[in-house]
Symmetry: C2
Subunit: 206 residues, 2 copies
Amino acid sequence: MICKIHDKIKETAGQLFSRYGIRSVSMDDIARELSISKKTIYQNFKDKDQIVMMGVEQHIEKEKKEFGEVMRDAENAIDEILRFSKCLRKNIAEVNPTVLFDLRKFHPQAWEKWLSFKNDFIKRTVLCTIERGKKEGLFREEIKADILATYRIETIEMTFDPKIFSTEKYEFIELQMELLEHFVRGMLTRKGYDVYEELNNTINNE
Amino acid sequence: MICKIHDKIKETAGQLFSRYGIRSVSMDDIARELSISKKTIYQNFKDKDQIVMMGVEQHIEKEKKEFGEVMRDAENAIDEILRFSKCLRKNIAEVNPTVLFDLRKFHPQAWEKWLSFKNDFIKRTVLCTIERGKKEGLFREEIKADILATYRIETIEMTFDPKIFSTEKYEFIELQMELLEHFVRGMLTRKGYDVYEELNNTINNE
């Protein structure tokens, strides 16, 4: 029973955070949403920081699973990136961008956890995709995969900085899609160009 | 005569800074190089900071002139970027990368000057080039020029951060060239792809 309510709190908190950001959601809000007392929450979690940390861990597991499925199912490296792009679009639509700002500012440990996931796991994934694309003749042979993988990670970072891309001026999702498309296109061989255009058209007409 | 020695000091200091970085070059070094007394330097410049600021101003003027010539002479937007790339390669080979690190750390006013040049002037130039390329049918019509110009400026910034690209691991020039080539390629139409390959081959065989 404790286990059930524990998971329920984590789940509901995650939903509220995704919708409104972390800072704006208090322990009272979570209790109210679940129609339980704040005491019950504190019987299950030390503090909000712990709920946030567990939420981040859960999110990381979910992303790892999704990434694994994409890599397994994709026909080729370009298809892989287009499928990642679809996941990314879904994640962005579901999560209020404030979440990451709040994480960095108010939950440094959970932020570090996310950062190291992003830097290690996503970088490894990007490296694999680039190598796959090279083998398939879709990405240019001479590409320095390591430089481009680091570049890609830092680009994602960049889009979260409102001093660089003002949140008033740019739609977050538009920004991500523009930069991801540019990233893939920058790697293409002529054959890759054709495959990209074809797959991209198929997806856009779906 | 004062004017001549003033320019001579500025010129020599600029050469020493380019070669060894700013921090490593003292007023004594500049005096020694010119076989003049330190007093003569201080009769012409308030302090090292002022020499650095004037050096930055001179460098900016030189770059503006070079950029103007490139835009005037280039056959099309891709040629423009390849010519910029050549200038960049030349500048990198001539200037010790420490200069920019020292500038940021020890000469904040001169750094601000360079930063605002980079952010305003280079951004405007990139915007012009993108618009030109679109009109010529070489860059994709749907590109958000403003996003990509900001992205490009921030990419340049990124390459100066040793926490991102370790100076031990990456050759600075290799890094710049890889990312510039990727940047152009990410914008190409099919027609642009052909023009790029042709122009790039011509340059590489020169």
